[in-house]
Symmetry: C2
Subunit: 200 residues, 2 copies
Amino acid sequence: MPKQVDHRARREAIARALWTVVDAQGWARATMREVAREAGVSLGQVQHYFASRAEMLAFAMEFASEHTSERVSRGLAALDPPPHPRDVLRVVLTEFLPLGPDARATSRLNAAYVLEALHDPELHGRVSLGLRDGRALVERLIREAMDQGWIAPDRDPVVETDLVLALTGFAPLIELDVVSADAALAAIDRHLDRLFAPTH
Amino acid sequence: MPKQVDHRARREAIARALWTVVDAQGWARATMREVAREAGVSLGQVQHYFASRAEMLAFAMEFASEHTSERVSRGLAALDPPPHPRDVLRVVLTEFLPLGPDARATSRLNAAYVLEALHDPELHGRVSLGLRDGRALVERLIREAMDQGWIAPDRDPVVETDLVLALTGFAPLIELDVVSADAALAAIDRHLDRLFAPTH
């Protein structure tokens, strides 16, 4: 294996191990030592690839984001063409909820990442940038749907974007058995039905 | 001071110190040693009151919940009588967002608590119960408002309750500068205006 590829593959293996540890035991117990054990490498190797626990988390989060993008792409490819903008938005939104094992692991990693970012300015900047990109994508989808007449012209695209993003608040509610996955999906569908109602 | 009162007061002082440490440095750095330092007591004293870090967190969370209830009560008392159910719901909801220093500290504590609860069955049960109580309160408010004709009779109170609860998803979005506090409040107001629209 070329050295560059090898380096990348090893970092990914460690990121995947971190993902597994965070999903099963939580970020609090995800020490570099525990991740090394899970990945089957030495602590020194983990420290060779990541200077700090925060850096390891940041890389795992990037890795998880790529996985999320792939799940979104697969979800979009499964829609009947041409995809209705309502269904596109639903695929994007629901992939951020802990509804499957992969999405659940990512959601838990994300919660740990957000919490860590509150007190780490560099991480805060990175998380914030990533989320603002996500917000811009949703706003673009909503504006396009308005242009195409799927959403009533008197809706405010900024407000509608923020309300759709806030629905990611179902993630902890599902994890803590406050709202079932089915109830969360029903509520999301109701919200999207109302948004995509050109006559209102 | 009677012994019981003294015990309670000391636990509260330690919980308040934990609150300060979590707000400023994050849960990851809130060791019992750091909390003892902040509270100006010995590590042994902290360990005397709390058997574990998780128990200390659970107590701090109870303490924070009482504070939140007090803020909600003050917010409700400030409404013009008789309070409109829409405004009652708005007070309850916005007190869970990191809009003031007190609410921000509670919100951060809460995020740490939720993350910890994912991997601690006892804590999971406790957090879940508390949140389901909160959900029941919101559903009761919504059902009463429907009975009084403030909300259209064809709305599903379960779905509407879940959608209102999901708006707590603005908390991390505000913390990470994805949505401003003003934009979040504007979106919440829009959502509540649509909910409290008897003709729709």
